[in-house]
């Protein structure tokens, strides 16, 4: 049987882990990623030493069948860490780069890295034709969309004159976003989640000492990681998400066990429970529960929580729950009016710097990635009815406008959002990788005529 050739669009964590698994199984891989160094992607490229992983090192192995792998790698690098320690994201980027190099060495000629971007992938009976932004077109047996997280969703009520001005930053990952123009300037962060926490830490690391205001509709800060004195609880018996939430609430008030053990115990089956809900219940969850689920499930490293706590206590950092009204350009900055939640009061903050810290754009139809745009245009991909992520079959295959799963086009990671409710963290990614690698070895080999080029 001929060896399969898989094209992977994206060379971040998910693309690299998949490439490694495929090479190990004897397949050919072409990974298409403009960055010279594979692995780090957007998530693990930050050089700031205060930006830590949001999960302890013991849970961050890249391999589902080898949970200690990351800890062994750290020890071999001369930086041993306890399983409960939170290490920097840049270390994790280096770990992924190391996995990419190992895949390259092991694969030899079976591993190819094209420094480009996939702009289109057209599947036919004879294979997939993959086109890149360099104008190259090559044939593969399958193509995997591993484009990672999108840029932040645009913040509402930001007029163009503000958006394009020098004081507004569309993303915390913009080069200069967390480099203050002067150390005492006033900063507004649009968002109160993990990205906003990253912004606070980045600003402080870069010498900022002025006031910071964080604002979001509910004003929900992520919870803190704690060292748990018992293993994740087996998930409570429940027939609906409502029952699950009720049992988490009970554990918060009963003091018998840390609610974190229940949340963590759920993670292996949260997606199964999610898929069992009908669309109406899924919608209700997304609208009413998801923000609360996220702050309990995606928690801050203790070091980050400590830094944020001290800033909140001394008043340098302020948290406001409310809706921002239309932002206004003023001399040297931006005026941010905030209608405070639950009160008939508007707080006006004048800032020299405003950073959009909302989470990633989950609506695939709003994303600018050229591959997603062409897949949507051709009907090979359709948005999930929840408008978060795309419609994806349980084996990872894209479901097209015809309602049928593709035999050759697959997705990994955040694009599966909506189909799954947890699909962005390494423990989920590595399981998707294990299952998808096996699935890809079974795609039909390209026919003698090769893919149909359009």
């Amino acid at each position: 049987m001929p060896e399969r050739h898989v094209a992977i669009a994206g060379g971040g964590a998910s693309g690299v882990l998949l490439a490694h698994a495929l090479v190990r199984a004897g397949a050919h891989v072409t990974i298409v990623e403009p960055r010279a160094e594979l692995g780090a992607g957007l998530a693990y490229s930050t050089p700031c030493p205060l930006h830590l992983l949001n999960a302890p090192a013991g849970r961050m192995s890249g391999f589902a069948d080898d949970p200690e792998h990351f800890l062994r790698w750290l020890a071999a690098e001369g930086e041993p860490a306890a399983p409960t320690a939170f290490v920097s994201r840049s270390r994790y980027g280096a770990y992924l780069a190391c996995i990419a190099r190992e895949a390259h060495e092991r694969g030899g000629e079976r591993f190819r890295h094209l420094r480009s971007r996939v702009t289109d992938a057209v599947a036919g009976p004879g294979g997939v034709s993959v086109r890149t932004s360099d104008g190259e077109t090559f044939a593969a047996d399958a193509c995997v969309v591993a484009v990672g997280n999108a840029k932040p969703a645009p913040w509402p009520l930001v007029p163009d004159e503000v958006r394009t001005g020098p004081s507004f930053f569309e993303s915390v990952w913009h080069d200069d976003a967390t480099t203050p123009g002067n150390p005492d300037e006033s900063v507004v962060l649009l968002g109160t989640g993990l990205t906003a926490v990253d912004a606070v830490l980045g600003l402080r690391h870069n010498g900022h000492r002025g006031p910071i205001v964080m604002v979001s509709r509910r004003g929900l800060l992520p919870h803190e990681h704690r060292q748990l004195d018992r293993p994740p609880a087996s998930a409570p018996f429940a027939t609906s998400l409502g029952d699950v939430i009720a049992s988490v609430r009970r554990s918060r008030t009963s003091n018998e066990s840390d609610w974190r053990t229940i949340i963590d115990g759920l993670r292996h089956e949260i997606n199964v429970r999610w898929e069992a809900l009908d669309l109406t219940e899924q919608r209700r969850f997304v609208r009413h529960v998801l923000p609360y689920w996220n702050v309990h499930r995606h928690r801050m490293a203790p070091e980050a929580a400590k830094a944020v706590a001290l800033l909140l206590a001394d008043g340098t950092l302020r948290m406001i729950a409310g809706r921002t009204q239309t932002l206004q350009a003023i001399a040297g900055g931006v005026r941010v009016p905030i209608a405070v939640r639950g009160r008939d009061e508007t707080i006006v903050v004048d800032a020299q710097r405003v950073i959009n810290c909302s989470g990633p754009e989950h609506d695939v139809s709003a994303r600018t990635n050229p591959l997603l745009r062409s897949l949507l245009a051709s009907g090979a991909m359709v948005p999930n009815p929840l408008r978060i992520g795309a419609r994806i079959a349980s084996d990872g295959a894209l479901i097209g406008a015809d309602g049928r799963p593709s035999a050759r086009l697959f997705a990994l990671g955040p694009v599966r959002y909506g189909t799954l409710i947890e699909t962005t963290a390494i423990p989920e990614i590595r399981e998707q990788v294990r299952d998808l690698a096996e699935r890809l070895l079974a795609v039909p080999a390209a026919g003698p005529l090769g893919p149909v080029l359009s």
Partner: protein, 192 residues
Amino acid sequence: MTASDRLDSMTQTRLGAIIAPLARAMATDRATTLAAVLSSLGKSNAFADESLFAPPSASRYSRGRIWADPDGRFTVVGMTWLPGQGTPVHDHAGRWGAELVVRGTMLETSYRLGARDGNGRTRLVVQHENPIDATQVGVILPSVDIHEFVNVGAGVAHTVHVYSTLVDACTTFTSDGDGWWTPAPVALAYDA
């Protein structure tokens, strides 16, 4: 005997005004909230009454219980430090909480665990040295809770420590002088 047994009824009423907001903060299960609440209590001089604290002792710093939650959800401990008195390097047995300097200046040196040898010894890596002045707070969260706390001011220092659940034991670390530290379990007692 806890502080509440020693206090007159006027102070008892004031104690309620301290404990109620702390209890609400503890119920949020967030050190971020607790630190902010403790800080605002400090700024409003809620702990100004010196009878809340155990008297100083020449041999070592004094620990006095200000409040033990009847449901065991948290403890509030007042500490009295003569100049130069301090703790050994210690952890908090997995508890979380916050501490407030009421009067004086404390120096907090934070460590994280490093490599271990085969004999149960560990390396400790200094994270930061942080002077904490009156009305400022510190935060205790596992695994960033290994620290040393020393009165570096010229006078008596009073501090308030709020811990999740009762802390009756912890681990101290003694330097062996060669870069390695030996951990030892320690039972904690109250002086008043």
